[in-house]
Symmetry: C2
Subunit: 738 residues, 2 copies
């Protein structure tokens, strides 16, 4: 077979386990970190649990299952509340840290600018808020600017540096966005450290610091991680969830929705993000969606109660004074933006991959904190050079989304028709800078999301295209293509602010390859409901173009592949006529337990020698069943002790035939798994892959006329589906640079 | 076993076929009407087809698969265009028919009121539009009213009657909403007549007539049907789709999204409806969603190009002058509305079922047209009695969603605070009347959707609750619960119009049990983006309450069960410790082909005797494979002819052993299906059900150590999942009243 061996590719042991960095003992958990859970086994355990509860006498039999469901909903609601409140307070913290870079409040150090000036009526100047120059009473203009830029840059470096130190020292899993890991965990990967309370604390703090430092990153992805940590923390209170990896994952899916809901103030977008981007495992779609819906709504409620922006609005970047109509000719610039978004999105992914590989394989790998400090210093310095990157990305986006309105402040002369070329140049320059910085920042040793910077890049480009289109229309108002515009030149025809929204959608579409959830998030963000069609069209174009440049499935799928998580991408796999026989590991290469052939001591030795999740059991080649290692170990240990004491060497039997003798044999037939899938090797490869994808299997056994012929594990299928990506597992834990 | 035999329940033949009313010959199609397609077989065929194309030499090998994909997208886009245009023109037609009930245009008979008065400036009176009284020059007030009400009622009866005649005579499948059938078809049910061009024509025409007649029905569900007919019609142009039932279904899923998109002017809602309500089969979720997305966007574009309402807006029931804030105390009435919606929704389903059963089992069954005429006459008469039901339901909803605004016309004194109790009484009366009429209308022999009437009922109740809350607040402005309201009594605190939206959401949630798509549709309808949270909360409450009253899965699932379609509900099935052995039909009750035991003539006789989809093949109890009837028939016919000619009696062999002799045996081993799922009988029942749900199987074979022990078909699983519903298959085709 020409396909690469997945075990080599992945640094996995043969049955799909990534060697865990911490090597916890088996006694701690059924699944060690780095392994994949067995969904069938988990579901079987859950079934047994429910039946046990139902079998209780009288009222208990009714009450206990109901309590189980109640606990599930309790955790979902508490998670939503927790995330909503945390998200709200994080916003307040970020605002305070960010404002501190500019000045302080005379009432006290811990007031941010909004709180400090809350008594000031609109139109009046806020006397309570002093810039550092005013506060330290620096009079000279030059010294003031110097002081301001010094404080601005040095606080940026201090924030970013301390975030990096926190992450590096206390919780390495708190780095990056966290969404790739969550996708892998939802698919069955086990990574307990990733969800620990410690990670939660560091990720939250580090996120506030890194966002406030002005680096080119967002808080969206990390908030999803924070949300999942929350759900995990709360679920630990109940035995029900401690014992069931499957139940935990159901909670995590809902928590992910709550995270997005808080990040964007977009409860619907949260649910859809959960559905489109996170939730490919779900045993029962409507239930999962429904829980995500509730978590998402509760989180948004909690957020709006905290009301971090003091606007009592969920919509972050309200698009205002948008005329309800748009003209057919605008489809041309919008489609162009879609194409640009697709190309740049694809490029951003490729560049980000190259930088991540360079970081791993160069001496940068040993100096992560220094890297963060350097990049934050460069970012802060560059931010001073280009006007559009001087403010926080969220503020920039909000400004770019605004239409020109004579009654309002014109943000840096964007609406000045005489400065058209200058504005276009500056916008494109800002986009280019942000593009480079984002590609570098996403993957450094700090919590960092990619949503907001992508939106900012797209918004800059979109606004530039919008300004150009507007200029063209103003220059040639009588050209036939512009005939649909109102004849009165004072009535605006083209709305450049909305072009920013389109640009942002297209760019996000190119980077994440999401479709419907993206559109919903964007119009929940902007309120541009009447313009949902152009947004859809540009996202469509961006996805088509980006997919044509490489079917990598978006930035998260790329990172999953690079980190080497055993996650099955939901792609449509098509074989070229191969069958399961081409995919399976044939029986000769499997470690098989032959029924009645091994003594307890020999079986114990085999278990110690081959660290697999489980072993097929056969009798004269005939397949009897599948036994997992942990169950075998649990049973074998006392039997072996008995045998050693009595000096016997009993044989392990998995089938109670007529030849069974309780003196010389031990009966292990109860250990065979009930839920084992058996296929014939002639089954098309496509169907095997699709069964793994849909049923979340860990292995499939192949038999011919009852005889074991081979086995396929999840790792084999993951290897098959990611073998086109050249950098698979290049960032996997444990791989050394070289 | 205590579970009822699904074959009895369903009037299915033993392997899940509903006896088709038309009995087409097998030569016409691989699957007769009423059977279920075999997804694995279909996918295998598609795989073969693609590999064949790829195997072509040179450029052809690259171009042909690409052309395949292009054709798919072409059909998707054409369907979107077609549905958008059709939907737009249907709106124009309905408007004209509806206006005709009130008067006519002096410019010509075929102008509707909007077109007739398009030259009139706002504020002026339109002289060109004459009521029938003016046109016929009836001067007396009394004669005028008499004439108006006579024309109003008699045209309603004429429209409804002709719709019923059209449906009854030409296309019985055009009756009802169509969504249950589409759900079944997407799940694999074959019902070609349901998608014929003839049905398309009649459904479109009948829909316009029945909507214009003022009956308590909507156009939403039927438009989904129309859209699917469109996709089917266009797909027939290409051989690719004619030959592949699976490909056709992929198109239909996209078409369904386009239908909803046009019905509500809600492109996102369309996609989500497709995802949540229709699409439970999808072999690959992202692809299906993506196609739905494109179809939906194109359809909405086409609709906005036709611009049927002359507003160039997609939003139908724009909610205006909504304050961005809401108060915590309002959660109480909103949750109350959620509970009411849940209870009434559940009740509406139960009442509708009872009426449908009564209709089927009484003499009404023989007079469907008379029933439609009578109900439309009653509806029209009642509409004159209660002010709120006098206008079309869509107009009523639009009016109820409007907030009170002194600068605008007050719709029937709804904003008059002195007429509070009168308004509440009239609104509740209108809701009660619509409730009864809807329960009766949905299921009559005309195209009828249930969305709009449900929205209207909910909006009436919601407005009533809103008016009451407002009255309470105005009566006790200083009560502690209302302290969050602005102290100035002239500033409105409670917005009764928005309570209508909440009521509508809750009612829809109770009737359809949809969640996320419902919320998206509702706020695309109303534009109430800032109020998405209250809508979510009320839908949540409604769904919880309605589910507590009966896990029937909404009105569409109930109708599917009543009509007896072999459709697997996506419910989470939990067994009580049973295994596959409890579900399977044991080997003794199966028709099995024993390898080498039957001559060609005997096999032919067996095929004619047992009309199953396929048969397991065994050799001395050992399972060899599964052979479908149509393939066997195709091969056996010429072999039998040969044998009859030569006077031989060759034996049918499915395995080429050493004893194979080409003189006395025929080799049929090539007929065995490659993709057959085999499980052990000890597999939990839950897993068997979930495999049927997720992989869309038609059958699973059970073997023990290679020996055939039983088989489960889709019909068995459907029977298992619907055995709690008392009226299963009570409306199935072919069942006579009695």
């Amino acid at each position: 077979m020409s396909r690469p061996d997945p075990a080599e590719l992945y640094e996995l042991t043969e049955d799909g386990q990534v060697p865990s960095p911490t090597h916890p003992t088996h006694a701690q958990s059924k699944y060690p970190d780095g392994s994949s859970i067995d969904w069938l086994q988990e579901e079987a355990a859950e079934r047994e649990h429910t039946n046990l509860l139902r079998a209780q006498h009288g009222v208990r039999g009714l009450l206990l299952p109901w309590l189980d469901a109640c606990r599930m909903w309790l955790v979902v609601i508490l998670t939503g509340l927790g995330v909503g409140l945390t998200g709200g307070w994080l916003d307040v913290l970020v605002k305070w840290l960010g404002d501190l870079r500019e000045g302080r409040c005379i009432y006290g150090f811990f007031y941010n600018q909004v709180a400090c000036c809350s008594d000031v009526k609109p139109g009046e100047v806020c006397d309570a808020w002093l810039t550092w120059g005013e506060y330290l009473n620096v009079q000279m203009m030059f010294s003031q600017s110097l002081l301001h830029s010094f404080v601005y840059v040095s606080l940026a470096v201090a924030y970013a540096g301390s975030a990096a130190v926190l992450v590096k020292t206390y919780a390495p899993y708190a780095f990056h966005t966290g969404i790739p890991e969550i996708k892998a965990i939802l698919g069955g990967y086990v990574l307990t450290a990733f969800l620990s309370p410690w990670t939660l604390l560091i990720k939250g703090l580090g996120l506030a610091l890194s966002v406030a430092s002005g680096l080119s990153l967002g808080k969206e992805g990390p908030l999803v991680h924070v949300s999942c940590c929350f759900a995990y923390l709360i679920s630990r209170l109940f035995e029900q969830f401690r014992n069931s990896e499957a139940q935990q994952r159901k909670l995590l899916a809902a928590a992910g929705a709550a995270g997005v809901s808080v990040a964007f103030g977009s409860p619907l977008g949260g649910v859809l993000f959960g559905l489109e981007e996170l939730d490919t495992f779900s045993s029962n779609e409507t239930e999962v969606m429904w829980r995500g819906f509730v978590a998402s709504a509760v989180a948004a409620m909690a957020l709006s109660w905290v009301n971090p922006f003091g606007t009592s609005k969920l919509v972050l970047f309200q698009v205002t004074s948008l005329s309800d109509t748009w003209r057919a000719f605008e489809l041309i610039p919008w489609l162009t933006l879609g194409v640009i978004g697709g190309i740049l999105g694809s490029l951003l992914i490729k560049l980000n991959v190259e930088i991540a590989l360079y970081r791993r394989n160069s001496s940068l790998n040993d100096w992560p904190i220094l890297e963060v400090v350097a990049v934050s210093a460069i970012t802060a310095a560059v931010s001073y050079l280009v006007v559009f990157s001087r403010v926080q990305a969220s503020e920039l986006v909000a400004n770019l989304f605004q239409e020109c309105d004579p009654t309002k402040i014109d943000y840096h002369g964007l609406c000045n028709p005489t400065a058209m070329w200058e504005n276009v140049f500056l916008l494109l320059l800002a986009a280019a800078l942000k593009f480079m910085l984002t590609a570098w920042t996403f993957g450094m040793m700090i919590p960092a999301g990619i949503f907001l910077p992508t939106i900012a890049i797209g918004a800059c480009i979109g606004r530039a295209v919008g300004i150009l289109t507007q200029g063209l229309q103003r220059a040639y108002p009588t050209a036939w293509i512009f005939l649909s515009c109102p004849p009165d030149p004072t009535v605006p025809c083209v709305s450049p602010g909305f072009y920013s929204v389109i640009g942002a959608s297209a760019m996000l579409g190119g980077v994440t390859r999401m479709t419907i959830s993206l559109v919903v998030i964007l119009f929940e963000l902007t309120g541009a409901l009447s313009h949902v069609l152009p947004i859809m069209v540009s996202v469509m174009a961006a996805k088509w173009v980006a997919d044509a440049f490489g079917k990598d499935g978006g930035i998260y799928a790329v990172w999953i592949a690079m980190r080497g998580y055993p996650w099955l991408p939901p792609v449509d796999f098509h074989d070229k006529g191969e069958t399961g026989a081409h995919l399976m590991r044939p029986v000769l290469r499997l470690v098989v337990i032959e029924d009645g052939q091994r003594t307890t001591a020999e079986l114990d030795a085999l278990l110690n020698q081959h660290d697999f999740h489980g072993y097929p059991v056969t009798r004269e080649q005939e397949f009897l069943g599948f036994a997992t290692r942990d169950k075998l170990q649990l049973v074998i240990a006392p039997l072996l002790a008995e045998d050693v004491d009595s000096g016997r060497a009993r044989r392990c039997r998995f089938s109670k035939g007529s030849s069974f003798d309780s003196e010389t044999d031990v009966d292990l037939s109860g250990l065979l798994e009930a839920a084992v899938l058996q296929l014939r090797p002639e089954v098309p490869k496509e169907l095997v892959v699709s069964m793994f994808q849909k049923l979340n299997l860990r292995q499939i056994i192949f038999t011919t006329k009852g005889k074991l012929t081979g086995m396929v594990t999840k790792a084999d299928v993951v290897g098959l589906l990611t073998c086109n990506f050249p950098h698979t597992a290049s960032l996997a834990a444990g791989r050394r640079p070289g």
